[in-house]
């Protein structure tokens, strides 16, 4: 276990280093000049060059990358070009909201997806199965902007059950988390359904049924433990996805998450923030996958960590 963890963490560091190298290179390939975005439209060529020099952007790319990695090793993500604020501070200030929305979204995804998938699997081929699959398809394909606005209009504007926007209470969390949960729930229900159908075909399920166990207990006690395995792996991926932000939903509900920060930074070509957010998201994907792998043997004793 210890050796496994060390090996995985070392691999994670290499992956993150690779991510910084790729993002850094890409930021130099964009046919636009961040210095001109900072300098604004009234800048003289001299001002532009002087800002380029101040930011060290007139040095060779490899030199800039080396100094970025050196500072990164000391935990310094640099300062925003536009805001001049430390990137660490900007990301840190949005981390609680991002994590909370992630937790809420994963809760709704599972709460919607797992029961729907199980039910559809047990009613396979019947009308209710088809109905659930159509709904899940709709959930996956409906634009989040529309779903979010619809929920907001009905439950916040019309009924006034929830605040219209903002962050701070459980009431603020429910609608944005539900919006994300509807889309994710669609995916999870499809995955749960096929995984459950697969498991229900197994011999041990037939045995359980032959023993005369109630169908409910066959499905929920015997089959579910195996059928849910692919889902735990998917949660790991979801963590990474949500860490890079849920831009659309954050914007509809005024949720101060990382997605908004990233979106604004991309528009302003604020490369230190783009680098920082990419790195945090990549780290979250790596950690999320690691967690999923660590949890797997707890759920399924057949899985061994090597």
């Amino acid at each position: 276990m210890g050796r496994y963890l060390i090996r995985r963490l070392a691999a994670a560091l290499l992956i993150l280093l690779g991510v910084t190298a790729i993002t850094f290179t890409l930021s130099f390939l964009i046919p636009a000049d961040p210095v001109r975005m900072i300098a604004g439209r009234s800048a003289t060529p001299e001002t532009i060059e002087s800002i380029r020099h101040q930011l060290g952007l007139d040095r060779p790319v490899y030199e800039q990358y080396a100094s970025y990695v050196l500072r990164l090793a000391q935990g310094d993500l640099g300062r925003s070009y536009v805001q001049k604020t430390e990137v660490g501070t900007l990301i840190w200030s949005r981390l609680p909201a991002t994590l909370l929305l992630m937790a809420g979204a994963i809760f709704f995804e599972l709460a919607i997806g797992i029961p729907a998938g199980i039910y559809a699997a047990t009613k396979r081929g019947r009308r209710s199965d088809r109905g659930i699959m159509i709904l899940s398809f709709a959930g996956v394909s409906a634009p989040q902007f529309v779903v979010g606005l619809l929920l907001l209009y009905i439950f916040a504007y019309r009924f006034g059950w929830f605040p219209m926007s903002g962050y701070g209470t459980l009431g603020h969390l429910i609608l944005p988390a539900l919006t994300l949960g509807i889309a994710g729930g669609g995916w999870y229900s499809r995955m749960m359904r096929s995984s459950m159908i697969e498991v229900l075909r197994q011999d041990y399920v037939r045995t359980a049924r032959a023993k005369g166990l109630a169908e409910r207990s066959v499905v929920l006690v015997h089959a579910l433990r195996n059928a849910i395995l692919p889902i735990t792996a998917m949660i790991g991926l979801d963590i990474g996805l949500f860490m890079s932000g849920a831009v659309v939903v954050e914007s509809v509900f005024g949720w101060p998450g990382i997605g908004q920060l990233a979106w604004q930074a991309i528009q302003r070509l604020d490369i230190p923030i783009i680098m920082g957010v990419t790195l945090v998201a990549a780290a979250a994907i790596v950690v999320g996958n690691l967690l999923a792998d660590l949890i797997a043997p707890l759920v399924d004793p057949r899985v061994r960590l090597r």
Binding site: S50, Q83, T85, S93, S251
Partner: protein, 538 residues
């Protein structure tokens, strides 16, 4: 009529300086929403339309504009004198001005603040505005640590020495980049001064929760007695404009910082419930198509004129729900120097075809039209593309990110045509010279510049320099006449096809009031925060 109004306002101002509108009772608070987080509140750095007006409420400069107008009035200055040769400006500071930290303002603060903007280490986008101050080059290049053209003979007097006369210099002292900041606060916070602003403005920053909200509180020591009226302004950021509109209708929000969302515009305008809550006004903005003179066939003036005649501006205006008025010259109608009598190129596709044939392109030609990729700009560009196709010009659309279009425009031969929407040009200050130098003058036709037509007419450049050297009230009218003739001469060369001037539509809740002009203030967008008041307290 407009001139009459301006004259009347000016007369009012002379009668009661700094008191353009009736006094209102103080108190109350408002909520304003924005989609984007505020990038910075440092007056040397902030240069977008969102923080521009916020900074004006936190800081002040030697000069300002009478609320709701483009008329210059002294602010931190009590009075000023301009020398006969136009090279020396002497300002006497107003008594009793205090920074938010309690310290009294001195002339040294004015010198420090402007020198800070010029200092290359500050990385200010406004550095170039101060180029006419003596010693600018030495400081901007990092050779000198002081700006030699600013002297402070005593605590209440600032003397500027210019290297050449500059008729816009008083405007330069009214833009945010010149606003007074206290050195001790800048030293204490360093780069984080952006989020810890300390100024002499009507409001002070009470709270800034990144990504969520900013709260401004009334500055009780503000140097204009009785102002501002509001106790508190909360800016909620990260708000989708559509949701912000719903919240305004529910009474949770008072002003839509990003304006009325285009998709709801018609509905909102036609709703009788909104009567009296939407104020329409002009803007110092022109939207135009640039034609790059370095790229054939736009080196031919006949082709450029044909493009001017090919575009159906009324249709383009309809595409954006009539939120603009068709333009026929570079200057917007609100800008001093605008020529009411000029009729421009009429929409005339047949005439355009004839001109193209005369230029040697009877079958038209292929070209590219660059456009920023956010709505409504691609739709506008498509309309222009259709108009051009009708006269035989086959323009391929290049719909790209803002920064990419700006970069292409700054290269001598990359972008044959650019639709300026979303990028250029809104004036930095209400003077016609600001619509010339960077975007139509030879100085802007450089790599990385904003003169995307790469238009450089040295004869016109000389006349522009002559106009900007005409300093003082006695020659002000002659100077505007000169500028008027310059822009009409430019239209003869037709480096641009001016398309429209955007109108502003500010929607506010019934909870805030004030003269309509405050809600479409030409220099405060969306609203002049310092002068609006809470209606329930009046």
């Amino acid at each position: 009529m407009r001139k009459l109004l301006i004259a009347a306002t000016a007369a009012l101002l002379l009668a009661a300086p700094g008191l353009a509108f009736a006094q209102a009772k103080q108190g109350g608070e408002i909520v304003i929403t924005y989609k984007d987080d505020v990038s910075t509140l440092d007056p040397a750095i902030g240069y977008d339309w969102q923080n521009w007006s916020m900074i004006k409420s936190l800081f002040s400069g030697l000069m300002d504009y009478a609320p709701g107008t483009t008329e210059l009035v002294p602010d931190l200055a009590e009075s000023y004198q301009i020398s006969e040769d136009g090279l020396t400006y002497t300002f006497n500071l107003r008594d009793g001005v205090k920074f938010h930290n309690g310290r009294a303002l001195t002339s040294g603060d004015i010198k420090y603040s402007i020198a800070r903007t010029v200092n290359p280490e500050t990385q200010s986008p406004g550095q170039g505005f101060f180029a006419s101050i003596a010693g600018f080059d030495a400081m901007a290049s990092g050779e000198a640590a002081e700006l030699s053209g600013i002297a402070t003979p005593d605590d209440d007097t600032v003397v500027f020495t210019l290297s050449a006369p500059n008729a816009t210099f008083l405007h330069i002292l009214a833009i945010n980049f010149s606003f007074a900041v206290p050195k001790e606060a800048v030293d204490e916070h360093g780069a984080d001064f952006a989020t810890h602003p300390v100024g002499t403005g009507a409001f002070k920053l009470a709270e800034w929760t990144l990504g969520q909200r900013l709260v401004f509180e009334r500055n009780p020591d503000y140097h204009h007695a009785g102002l501002p009226y509001l106790d508190k302004i909360t800016f909620e950021v990260g708000q989708e404009p559509t949701v912000a509109l719903l919240r305004l209708q529910r009474g949770e929000v008072d002003v839509l910082g990003d304006g009325i969302p285009p998709a709801q515009f018609e509905e909102v305008m036609n709703d009788p419930a909104n009567e009296g809550l939407i104020v329409e006004g002009g803007q110092l903005h022109t939207g135009y198509v640039t034609m790059n003179g370095n790229v054939a066939p736009f080196d031919n003036v006949l082709v450029r004129r044909a493009v001017n005649m090919a575009i159906n501006k009324d249709r383009v205006v309809r595409i954006i729900n009539n939120r603009a008025v068709p333009a026929n010259q570079p200057l917007p109608p609100l800008m001093p120097g605008y020529d009411d009598a000029y009729e421009g190129y009429a929409f005339d596709p047949e005439g355009a075809k004839a001109l193209l044939a005369e230029a040697g392109f009877p079958d038209g030609f292929d070209t590219q039209l660059f456009v920023m990729n956010t709505d409504p700009n691609p739709r506008i560009a498509q309309a222009i593309q259709q108009d051009l196709a009708a006269v035989g010009i086959r323009a391929e659309l290049q719909s790209l990110a803002q920064s990419t279009v700006i970069a292409a425009g700054g290269e001598p031969d990359q972008a044959p045509m650019i639709w300026s929407g979303g990028m250029a040009w809104i004036a930095d200050f209400p003077d016609p010279s600001n619509f010339y130098g960077p975007i139509l003058g030879c100085g802007g036709a450089v790599q990385g510049g904003w003169n995307w037509a790469w238009y450089c007419n040295e004869e016109i450049d000389a006349r522009a320099a002559e106009a900007d050297a005409m300093v003082g009230d006695t020659v002000a009218a002659a100077r505007l006449d000169l500028w008027r003739s310059i822009f009409i001469a430019i239209m003869h060369d037709a480096p641009w096809a001016p398309v429209f001037n955007e109108q502003r539509f500010t929607m506010h809740s019934p909870r805030i009031g004030g003269e309509d002009a405050l809600f479409v203030d030409p220099v405060h967008i969306p609203v002049n925060y310092n002068h609006v008041y809470a209606t329930e307290l009046q």
